[in-house]
């Protein structure tokens, strides 16, 4: 136990002295600060520029109506449909309008060629130009309104009918995926990044000790179980500390700038994670991290050269990525309780992501959660002990990288 403490301390120190680790953490915190302070900075910049005549920047849209009698209605509807434009009516000829657009006198124009038809004139047609679609809807409204007015409905009533407002309310008895989608997404992604990154680090760390032959001394000084658990738990703590630093600073900076963010639904939902979900996050993060880090460590111990690591860890990475894809696909399809997800939420290698997603985005019976966590804990311990055995056998095998079969045989014999 004392050895475990010594190893844990030594390995943790390695992370905090590692310039890359510290650098990435600081970079992420600064990045988050920049994002979180962005609206505040923008308002500062905008208020400075407040004196400038904003209207001069607004694009100009010309309307050439077909029937001058309904000209005002059409203009009114277009003006409200295109709030970003200054809308003017015109009676210029089409050729004049075309010249005007080419010369940059105004930005675009709609020439009505009938009650129900128009031509859209614009300079460069942007990929995202939706003006024609908006105009279609606007002209349809104008036509309907004119039809009603000519049918004897007063203009006021016609406007009221067209602008009818339906009040609605949705009561979700389970969980609203609209709200929890974003933070689940962020958490799964964080889990994915951290496990892959730190897992690789554990594997490289072990392989470096092996290739530098520091292992010769380590293996005769400490128990393989202490070595393995010390290393893996140290990197787990380092990962957790990094996540805490990043998410903690995000939360802090958000609260500092809360008023500037206004009612941004996405941002608000991200920072309104239910506390019990955070607890689940912590449980699944720790266990998921440990189970993979143990495997990465064991694989690292079998590589005889650092270059071998990338190919050796491939099977583990594959399992992990498949799990990730299943979870992500189910998430975006909205059906997080499908059969594949149900199965995945009990398999220890996928359950950290799958079960967590189900808990976050659906209603999962308590016993299912308990069984999933129990399986995960048992397999984490099992994999931990097994990987320490592989480690003890693997670190002393030099030369060619042993096949999985050889390792299993060697472990079985020992």
């Amino acid at each position: 136990m004392k050895q475990f403490g010594t190893i844990l301390k030594f390995e943790l120190k390695y992370f905090f002295k590692n310039k890359v680790f510290v650098g990435i953490t600081i970079f992420l915190v600064i990045l988050i600060a920049a994002v979180m302070f962005f609206p505040r900075i923008m308002t500062l910049v905008e208020s400075d520029e407040g004196e400038i005549d904003v209207s001069s920047h607004r694009p100009v849209m010309l309307l050439k109506v077909f029937d001058p009698a309904s000209g005002d209605t059409v203009k009114e509807i277009f003006a409200s449909s295109f709030p970003d434009y200054d809308v003017y009516t015109t009676d210029q000829e089409v050729s004049e309008i075309e010249n005007g657009i080419s010369a940059g006198a105004f930005d675009c124009a709609f020439v009505m060629t009938g009650d129900k038809s128009f031509t859209y004139y614009v300079g460069n047609l942007s990929l995202y130009d939706m003006n024609a679609e908006t105009a279609t809807a606007a002209l349809a409204r104008a036509y309907q309104m004119n039809a009603m007015i000519s049918g004897g409905v007063s203009p006021q009533d016609a406007a009221d009918i067209m602008n009818v407002y339906i009040e609605s309310e949705t009561v979700s008895l389970g969980k609203s995926q609209l709200q929890n989608f974003f933070y689940t997404y962020i958490m799964i992604f964080a889990l994915y990044m951290v496990i892959l990154l730190y897992g690789q680090m554990v594997a490289t760390n072990v392989a470096t000790e092996k290739s530098s032959r520091a292992m010769e001394l380590l293996i005769t000084s400490a128990k393989p179980t202490s070595m393995m658990f010390g290393k893996v738990i140290a990197s787990c703590l380092a990962g957790l500390i990094q996540l805490l630093a990043v998410f903690g600073s995000a939360l802090l900076f958000y609260n500092l700038n809360k008023s500037y963010w206004g009612d941004n639904i996405i941002i608000e939902s991200i920072f309104n994670i239910p506390p019990e979900l955070l607890v689940y996050m912590l449980i699944f993060f720790m266990l998921g991290f440990l189970i993979y880090a143990f495997m990465f460590g064991a694989v690292g111990s079998t590589a005889s050269k650092l270059e071998d690591i990338n190919t050796s860890v491939m099977p583990i990475t594959m399992i992990f990525i498949i799990g990730f894809i299943v979870v992500m696909t189910s998430m975006s399809s909205g059906e997080v309780d499908n059969m594949v997800m149900r199965v995945c939420s009990f398999i220890p290698f996928t359950s950290p992501m799958a079960m967590f997603t189900r808990i976050a985005m659906s209603v999962v019976p308590g016993y299912e959660i308990a069984i999933s966590i129990a399986i995960l804990i048992a397999s984490t311990i099992g994999i931990g002990v097994l990987s320490a055995k592989i480690y003890r056998t693997g670190v002393l095998m030099y030369g060619t990288t042993p096949t999985i079969g050889n390792i299993i045989k060697a472990v079985w014999k020992s």
Binding site: T6, M215, L217, T220, R392
Partner: protein, 299 residues
Amino acid sequence: MDLELVNIEKSFGEKKVLTGVSFKAKGGKAFGLLGRNGAGKTTSIRILMNVFPANSGEVLIDGRPIDYSKTGIGYLPEERGLYPKKIIIDQLIYFAELKGMTRKAAISAIDYWLSRLGMTEYREKRLDTLSKGNQQKIQLITALAHDPDIVILDEPFSGLDPVNAMLLKDVVKEQISAGKIVLFSSHQMSYIEEFCDSIAILKNGVVAIKGDLHEIKRDYPRDRLVVRTQMPDAVRRDFGSACSETESGSLIIKLTSPDEKKAVMTRLTENYDIDEIKVFEPSLNDIFVEYAGDAPKEA
């Protein structure tokens, strides 16, 4: 304190690595564990250090099974290696702590050894900034800092210049006179001869010969004479196939039995101009080649 390996058997998979290996090393004495590459020396050392268990057999300290929590072992592995990118003092403290020392005790022991080996100036340096010989001295500290009862040195002199080799010799002598068990493994026979009272030679996982080095030499059949003469051709003609020549130009005459010694000596001195004549005593090198080599052992 005595260390004893009794009937150690070890296989890796199908391959049998050690067969009935037994030897005994005494405190205050150096013990030489010899053998060619792949003879089973490192495996024996690893079993002794509990890196992996033997299939059968025992490791005893004073007749009782070894208690690793009470018996300190210091090890200088043949494959040298520490953390190349880390500060020397940090990793030395780490290894000493792993051996059960407190941080404070570790620092004072390490500082003693750094100054004893003339390495104090490198205390805060990264290991990979040091020369190979100096790295080896740092590695030696990991084997000695925790004041172990058993010191295992695998090829301790390889890569050291004569001055450093002298320094290491002094350190080894200190360790021996402090009553520790010093276990040597080396291919440099001169060092083994200089330090070790007892040896064991392993061949293909079996102890080919073991015991007190002087006794082994004395028990060696005294049936050969070393002759230095001004008339080598005449002597060679006289003794025919029983006579061979060494690299240094001396002649070796094999006797049909040790009892013949006096008669042959007389015959030589009376008939030829002889500078020197003595009974052939094998060097450790000769013994090693004979017991560990591929050639069939002479009767």
